[in-house]
């Protein structure tokens, strides 16, 4: 217990011995963690958006009014056997028209004139389990054209493809930015602790001379690094907490109608992730910089 107390006290004193440097290091860590958090939130949001869009992806087959019901059912059964297909719905002309009317009621600038006959065809709506298979399925379904059942194949996967590209670019770019920030944060922490170590090199030398173990000498510095990390994480989390509402609503607004949900535990996970990351960076950076000084006192 005494040792733990000693280590914590020494770490706290070490932090305040050079406050400008310590605070600069803390803010650098905060900045890095904010970018880290921003990247994760964006990535999660986009993934949720892609997931939502993917579940909406469908191919629609317009059917000839004169097609025999048995042919239509046979076609439906065949499509359902494809592993990429999650379900196939038969939508009658009447259902399609009802849907259109319902939609029109909700939009002011859109009215459906009273038509004498229903111009909409019967159709098969195919929901896909995996958006990436859209192209293949659409191509194979186009072979049905001209056999008296299918009159048109409607596919429009471009939105999904664009979103997938965006997430891929963001993932790679985000990792690159993160790696750079990680490097900067490590560099700043290593330097801060190095200065602290240098300022206390006499003390370290004396500790080693009277028989202190390397760990006993190192722990205060490692805790000091973790303190920098933790304070940086707290600043970052405070900023995140203040900014989360406007950012979330902006994100939801941007993605508009999509039911984007980041999950109930997301905030907790993000907070813990940020904190753990900060502790690792701080502790690792500090142990790195204290090691070189330790090596001077005892040739191994």
């Amino acid at each position: 217990m005494r040792r733990v107390g000693y280590v914590l006290t020494a770490a706290w004193q070490g932090f305040w011995r050079n406050p400008v440097m310590s605070i600069a290091a803390t803010l650098t860590v905060s900045l890095m963690l904010l970018l880290f958090a921003f990247f994760i939130v964006t990535d999660r949001g986009l993934q949720a958006a892609v997931g939502a869009l993917e579940s909406k992806v469908e191919l629609v087959l317009y059917l000839d009014d004169g097609a025999k019901p048995s042919d239509v059912l046979a076609l439906k059964a065949r499509i359902e056997q494809d592993p990429a297909v999650s379900r196939v719905d038969y939508v009658t002309k009447q259902q399609a028209l009802d849907r259109l009317r319902e939609l029109a009621q909700r939009k002011e600038d859109f009215t459906v004139a009273d038509l004498g006959s229903n111009p909409l065809p019967n159709s098969l709506e195919i929901k896909l389990a995996n958006a990436q298979d859209t192209d293949r399925l659409a191509t194979s379904l186009k072979e049905e054209l001209g056999h008296g059942v299918v009159t048109d194949v409607i596919d429009n996967p471009t939105v999904v493809e664009k979103l997938l590209t965006i997430t891929r670019v963001l993932s790679i770019g985000g990792v690159a930015v993160l790696a750079m920030m990680l490097f900067v944060a490590l560099f700043v922490i290593v330097n801060t602790i190095r200065i602290a170590v240098h300022a206390r090199r006499d003390e370290i030398e004396i500790m080693q001379l009277v028989g202190a173990t390397d760990w006993f000498v190192s722990w205060p510095f490692i805790f000091e690094g973790m303190l920098v990390g933790t304070l940086g994480a707290l600043v970052a989390l405070a900023v995140l907490a203040a900014a989360s509402r406007p950012v979330t609503s902006a994100l939801v607004g941007f993605l508009d109608i999509l039911p984007v949900s980041l999950g109930p535990n997301f905030v907790l996970e993000l907070g813990l992730g940020v904190l753990a990351f900060a502790l690792l960076v701080g502790g690792f950076g500090a142990s790195f910089s204290v090691r070189s000084q330790l090596a001077k006192g005892a040739r191994a």
Partner: protein, 226 residues
Amino acid sequence: MIRLEDVSKRYPNGTAALQDVDLTIEHGDFAFLVGSSGAGKSTLIRLLIREELPTTGRVLVDGKDVVRLRRSQIPNLRRTVGVVFQDFKLLPTKTVAENVGFALLVTGHDGRTVREETDRVLALVGLTHRRGHFPRELSGGEQQRVAIARALVNGPRVLIADEPTGNLDPVTSWEIIKLLTRVQELGTTLVMATHNAEIVNALRRRVIHLDHGAVVRDEREGSYAA
């Protein structure tokens, strides 16, 4: 017991600090290391506490080959070998008692032991009344006595003093020497590097004379100069 067998030390810049040194200092002995600056006294001391490794040869302290110690065993060596320096090496931000207790604290002793042992060695060096003072409030001789107390608090088998009187006036130097002599008489092996001819000549103890890294004279009851 301290034994050096065929020890040579050559620094990376080419300086040969020690050459073929063979030396045995029995347990409880008192030995002076003399010789001009650069003769190898400090290098020899650094080998004993494993601050440096010899280029060749074996260094045995208290029966252990310090050259072969693993890094994790070095702290244990340092607890059996107390060291006193010319410049005292006290921590300016800690009190006398804290400076002494520090040596016990870093080796993981509990608070009660730290207090008791600190009081014991402070009484031995006659500084009980100064326990709450900071090093800058003490005279040079008092600071050196604090350093000796710190070297003794772990109960070392060997005490090494590297020019312990180098920064002190003659009267204070004698006080320190008397203290060190008493420590040796209580059973600790004492090795002292010094330039103080008066003290060496007065005490008539073993004298090991180094010159250009080699032992050129080793007398049981020697004097400073041949």
